[in-house]
């Protein structure tokens, strides 16, 4: 066969194949782009309905079908880690979060080229800041809703005792001590794993400290860090104003202690507002109110966000980005607030939501805005994910009196420096 293939015939055949491919390619691309796959966050019975509506609305608008899997926060993070390590193209779009974004800078595609600067200006700057890779300055994800905390307290109990919600660390000790007794506790704080690190982080900033110094070397073991961890430990061990096993509490226990009525004060996320207002999930409906987060030398706590990211190995990036834009759009964020009281990451939407709110809800939204305005997040340097595992153990050791705050933090700082050096944070 090859013997009879002349040069002219070969060129003719090649030209025909090339032309066919040229005609077919856009069609194939269009066909592919009618369907994308997403790994999305869930939690509670309302989330599946929310995503179903978002996917339906998106299909109506663009004709693109979103096939999605839903996972709760922790398994979603674990699955993203696994898929990232495997360089998997299984999902085009991921739900993600500021807290974990540092682990995924290599797995998520930069979004800067898909968003005009005027589009990005609408998002809270603090949210965008910590979703950027500090090495490349590229945006790894786009915020969907803000995660910031305020104080939730039992207004009925406080009023009965003539107390006002705590504004400072000293107030917190005084108010909590007054209310602790008869099987009730004045305060609940989580003391395990990531929630413990989150709590320590807030106290560290409030004490005037930072996670790293100007050279990105660990500085959380300096005097403010020791002051923060000592205060945190003393709430549990010295003043005994929290349930005694708070050291083993995650967010779930933290929230349920307050919603069950056993505890009179806590610091919780925006979703708590909806949970505490629902008689099916709360025994304290109508009995609580909100107040700003406590302060010490500074009034700072975390301002992070749930976000959407694009898989760097996705073959349908344009369609995937369309979905990401839709899911962080004004319409979707308004729905997200209506369903879950999740605070919008777009300032324009937040303004509308705040303007429409009344009474207690308006006050609460104002407090959230205040937290976001001064909010921070821990650094996203190489190796910091490993620092988190070191910190989980160090904080728990101090909280459970296995080590003094100074020893626990010094040991953790030493290990953290090694971990960050090995991960290339100082190259």
């Amino acid at each position: 066969m090859l013997k009879h293939l002349s040069r002219r015939r070969f060129l003719q055949s090649s030209a025909t194949i090339a032309a066919s491919a040229g005609v077919a390619a856009p069609r194939i691309a269009r066909a592919e782009a009618t369907e994308i796959k997403a790994l999305l966050i869930t939690g509670g019975p309302l989330y599946p309905k929310y995503w179903e509506q978002i996917a339906q609305d998106f299909k109506k608008k663009t004709g693109i079908t979103v096939n999605y899997d839903l996972l709760e926060f922790t398994p979603l993070t674990s699955k993203t880690v696994t898929l990232g390590a495997a360089r998997s193209g299984l999902y085009d779009v991921y739900s993600t979060h500021t807290a974990q974004i540092g682990s995924f800078f290599n797995h998520f595609a930069p979004l800067d080229e898909y968003f005009k600067s005027e589009e990005l200006e609408d998002f809270y700057p603090v949210a965008l800041k910590y979703l950027r890779n500090p090495k490349t300055e590229k945006l790894a994800a786009i915020p969907r809703n803000m995660d910031a905390r305020v104080q939730y307290y039992r207004k009925d109990v406080y009023d009965a005792h003539g107390l006002k919600p705590a504004a400072t660390w000293d107030d917190l000790i005084h108010v909590s001590q007054t209310l602790t007794g008869d099987g009730h506790y004045g305060l609940v704080v989580p003391g395990q794993g990531d929630p413990a690190q989150r709590t320590f982080s807030d106290l560290l900033w409030q004490a005037g400290g930072e996670w790293v110094d100007e050279n990105n070397k660990p500085s959380f073991n300096a005097a403010p860090g020791v002051e923060a961890l000592t205060f945190y430990r003393d709430l549990i061990q010295k003043y005994k104003v929290t349930p005694p096993d708070a050291v083993s509490y995650q967010w779930d226990e933290n929230s349920s202690e307050f919603s069950s009525g056993a505890v009179f004060d806590t610091f919780d996320w925006p979703g708590a507002y909806a949970t505490l207002s629902n008689p099916a999930t709360s025994k304290v409906v109508g009995k609580w109110s909100t107040a700003p987060y406590i302060r010490n030398k500074q009034a700072i706590s975390c301002a992070i966000s749930h976000a959407m990211a694009l898989n760097s190995v996705s073959k349908k990036k344009d369609a995937a980005v369309e979905f990401i834009k839709f899911s962080v759009g004004a319409e979707s964020q308004t729905l997200n607030f209506q369903d879950f009281t999740n605070f919008p990451s777009r300032q324009s939407v937040a303004k509308q939501v705040v303007a429409a709110a009344q009474g207690e809800q308006a006050a609460w939204l104002g407090q959230l805005e205040q937290t976001i305005a001064t909010g921070k997040e821990w650094p996203k340097l190489p190796g910091f994910s490993k620092v988190c595992t070191i910190m989980f153990s160090a904080i728990e050791k101090a909280l459970s009196n296995q080590a003094t705050p100074t020893d626990a933090l010094n040991e953790a700082a030493k290990e953290s420096l090694d971990a960050m050096t090995q991960a290339g944070a100082y190259q």
Binding site: T77, S78, V81, G84, A85, G102, S103, F104, F105, N106, H107, G191, Q192, G193, P243, P244, D245, A246, V247, S248, Q250, E253, E257, S260, A262, P382, G383, F384, S385, K386, C388, T389, I390, F392, S393, A394, I395, E396, K397, A398, L399, S400, Q402, A403, A408, E411, E415, A419, Q422, A423, G424
Partner: protein
């Protein structure tokens, strides 16, 4: 019969040359299964072993070869040393309690005590429950505010115990959960062993005037050596794989007080995103469990036949 005789008289070499008897046919038939085993078992094992020699950090831009660094870092890491210390206590304590209690209950059931026969059916329940469910249940059982156990202690005017928040009690808590789930399995294993023992030596000893304890210690227990060996092997392997119950009860806390090597490896891989280091931890744990099994095989009492 005649055919069989002819077959037996055939020269050996001629039978081996037949196409169905050749070694190649065997390989060919076993091939698909071998390929499946290589794909789902050998390849990931080899891949993770190779990974343990690289700085395989998801947050880093490259994964350089670092030789034995992950292994040396693991062995010198205070968090790993703490996990290993916990692991050895957990393995020794759970095995000691499960084997002893399992043997005791098996002997009672085998003694045909009234009511215990029905209990043997109930014993199937704990091993059938998913470890994740066991972990969640025990997390709530040990909760100091709403937990059943502290409520019971309080009703009995006994001091309540900080099960999950005190480092020592937290380790005891995960041991209790593991014992609750795995002792019934030991009971069933030992019961099967007891029921297969020959009656003659036991009856002869009884006729000779030996007490029940003497019969158990000098005859029953030695005869059960093979079963005990299997039970010990299974439990050693299993304790080095224990993860779900501990993760759901304490996440290795407080302060690493209940962190076993699996929990340490999980945190390194899925929180620290350092897969190379996590792989090294897993291989060190594998070697340790193999060493323990080797020591077990060499115990004189278990080697006696």
């Amino acid at each position: 019969m005649a055919d069989a005789a002819i077959a037996l008289n055939e020269p050996r070499g001629r039978r081996q040359r037949g196409p169905l008897n050749s070694a190649w046919t065997g390989y060919l038939l076993a091939g698909p299964a071998l390929l499946a085993i290589i794909a789902i078992f050998v390849y990931p094992l080899g891949y993770s072993f190779v990974m343990s020699f690289f700085r395989w950090d998801l947050s880093a831009p490259s994964a350089p070869f670092i030789g034995l660094n992950n292994y040396t870092e693991t062995l010198t890491s205070p968090l790993f040393q703490q996990s290993l210390h916990n692991q050895l206590i957990f393995t020794a304590a759970t095995i000691a309690v499960e084997i002893t209690a399992g043997m005791g209950v098996a002997v009672l059931i085998n003694g045909k005590l009234r009511g215990l026969r029905a209990a043997s059916t109930l014993l199937l329940i704990p091993p059938m429950i998913a470890p994740a469910v066991v972990g969640l249940n025990f997390r709530w059982l040990f909760n100091s505010q709403y937990g059943f156990i502290d409520a019971l202690l309080s009703d009995l005017h006994l001091p309540v115990i900080p099960w999950l928040s005190d480092p020592n009690w937290a380790l005891v808590s995960i041991i209790i959960a593991d014992v609750w789930q795995n002792t019934p399995l030991m009971v069933l294993l030992f019961l099967a062993g007891l029921q297969s023992l020959p009656l003659e030596p036991l009856e002869a000893a009884a006729v000779d005037g030996a007490s029940a304890w003497q019969i158990f210690w000098n005859i029953t227990l030695p005869l059960l050596r093979p079963v005990i060996t299997v039970a010990l092997m299974l439990r050693i392997i299993d304790t080095f794989r224990t993860f779900d119950v501990v993760w759901l009860m304490t996440q290795g806390g407080p302060g690493g007080a209940t962190s076993l090597v699996t929990v340490h490896a999980y945190l390194l891989a899925f929180q620290g995103v350092d897969f190379g280091h996590a792989a090294a931890v897993s291989y060190i744990a594998l070697v340790l469990s193999l060493v323990l099994l080797g020591v077990l095989y060499r115990l004189p009492w278990l080697r006696e036949r």
